[in-house]
Symmetry: C2
Subunit: 131 residues, 2 copies
DNA sequence: TTACAAAATGTTATATTATAACAATATAAC
DNA sequence: GTTATATTGTTATAATATAACATTTTGTAA
């Protein structure tokens, strides 16, 4: 695996140490003191980091999270759980699930090479808060 | 099932007769001749139509498609196949898949009440074009 | 059939997310 | 060292989505 460029490293570090998914303009705000001034600089780094699998985009939230799976280099099979109350997002790493979905074939004969799955619900903390 | 309001009906009809997912501002452009002038009017109708399950949002494309499943009223379990070449989107209606995912429990103890799954690949047409 | 509540509409302004286009610089491969 | 590729920098703008407020319509029940 090649090294990250300067901007890529700055932005990856920020996302990687964040406990929650970060949005592009929040990232921009946080890295301005490090010399990254324009949205495009952020989006370019994000695109590359997604491409090489260091981060994932949470599509329903337009936000980015570091890959939790140390062996994941290219993101062809992603699954996340999202708490609709506190917005906590966790990457699901379940081999049964990934086997099932990677092998899934629909009747239309289309062969899939990638998928993204987002589960929504309430996390344990938020369930107990409400009861 | 209650009837749709005027704006909801106009926008649903447009989406329903479209062979491909439609984006909000493309919808806006197409319904201006019918008196819907502002983005918010479109987004409000879209929100409601999604809520009652008449349409789904394709998150990775920011586009909307009519529900293909006649029995689907509330969209708690959605799955789509997306061709990365021609962008054709099809709703997957596979009871094995939906049973598997609806029953899925992760080790974190979170209970899911909704999911959205997007598969990516090449459709039959696009595969044969390339060979 | 009025009155009340809920849903939907209309309108202007603005926030948020993302890319186009072009020039310059750095890095890797040969 | 030269060339190709990736990355950066910069300005402008496109595309997606919501805030806030006023008004009208619709459904429900007294």
């Amino acid at each position: 695996m090649q090294n990250l460029s300067k901007n890529q490293q700055i932005i990856f570090d920020l996302i990687d140490k964040s406990p929650e998914p970060l949005k592009a303009y929040s990232i921009l705000f946080n890295v301005q003191k490090r010399g990254i001034k324009a949205p495009l600089q952020v989006y370019r780094a994000l695109d590359k980091l997604v491409e090489i699998g260091k981060i994932h985009k949470i599509e329903s939230r337009n936000a980015f999270i570091a890959c939790q799976n140390s062996s994941c280099q290219i993101s062809k099979a992603t699954a996340f759980s999202i708490c609709e109350s506190c917005e906590k997002v966790t990457e699901i790493n379940n081999s049964n699930l990934s086997k099932y979905l990677t092998g899934f074939k629909d009747k239309n004969g289309m062969k899939y090479n990638k998928y993204n799955l987002e589960f929504f619900g309430l996390c344990k903390k938020c369930i107990s808060k409400k009861s």
